[in-house]
Amino acid sequence: MGVTWKNSGILILGLILAIFWIAAGQADDIGSLPMPRDKLYVEECGACHTAYAPGFLPARSWVRMMGELERHFGEDASLDEPQSLAIQRYLTDLAADSQNGTPFMRRLAASVPARAAPQRITETWFFAYMHDEVPASFWTRKKIGTKANCIACHPRANAGSYAEREVSIPPP
């Protein structure tokens, strides 16, 4: 079969469809969540722990948390007003129930009771579901210490990436 306009056209169309298919697959990928572009977010909210992807909690959870930063899990995480307003906007723009949600984020949002504003990602349904195969003894390893230390096992967590193939669990 020689190269004709017709079959190269089919090839190109096929390639375009494949690219769309891969792109759509990525948007659907559980292991990848959007992160704020402003580095302020990782600098401030990633100073004491992983800079959690906003898509793990609904907007109402973040609004409540941002209103109580002086008493943040027993710590003072307070910020200047311009910074805290900016961060609250990034969090709500990319929250689980925002318009920018991936299908995974929407499922996550739907699993949170309407009146609840959970403050811990580690207490949400998805977290238990994703990690049910992780032995309890792992969480207390020195380099891990707590379930909330995502970045210990997901090295690219601060870029919103939790893909299974990137998981690297520190040895005891």
């Binding site: 004491c48 722990h49 992983t50 899990f73 027993g74 710590e75 003072d76 995480a77 020195k142 380099k143 891990i144 210490g145 707590t146 909330a148 230390n149 970045i151 210990a152």
Partner: protein, 138 residues
């Protein structure tokens, strides 16, 4: 032509101002010392007192009982947050050039960490001693 010279000199001036935005550890220590002297004219910062303060066990009520609890006893080494277990880059500028280069950042963490460890804010004297110690580490 004139316009061109004017513009390039403005640009040059702007470029020269850039490094000035980041303070050096010595400048930050100077400012902390000045603040301490405004309360106690005879004050001069002491790395020895700073080291004691850095290592000392406190009873502020928080989970971390000393500055060293998170920053480790050796400020040249990476530490670990006692509660979140997150890695913390070394505190000594000799091991981490970003330290003591941004006065607002230094102030913010003195505020948070003193409250955590001591249950109160640090005095200007404590801050200057602490900075003198950490900056003096070679």
């Amino acid at each position: 032509m004139r316009n061109w010279i004017e513009r390039s000199s403005v640009l040059l001036a702007a470029l020269m101002a850039l490094p000035a935005l980041a303070d050096t550890p010595a400048q930050i220590l100077d400012n902390l010392t000045r603040e301490a002297r405004s309360q106690q004219a005879s004050f001069s910062p002491s790395a020895g007192r700073g080291e004691q303060f850095y290592q000392a066990k406190q009873t502020g009520g928080g989970e971390a009982e000393s500055c060293a609890a998170c920053h480790t006893r050796d400020a040249k080494a990476a530490g670990q947050h006692v509660r979140t277990h997150k890695n913390i880059e070394p505190l000594a500028p000799v091991a981490n050039r970003e330290r003591f280069s941004d006065p607002a950042k230094v102030e913010k963490w003195f505020r948070r960490n003193c409250k955590e460890v001591l249950g109160r804010t640090c005095t200007p004297q404590e801050k200057a001693d602490f900075a003198a110690y950490v900056i003096s580490i070679r």
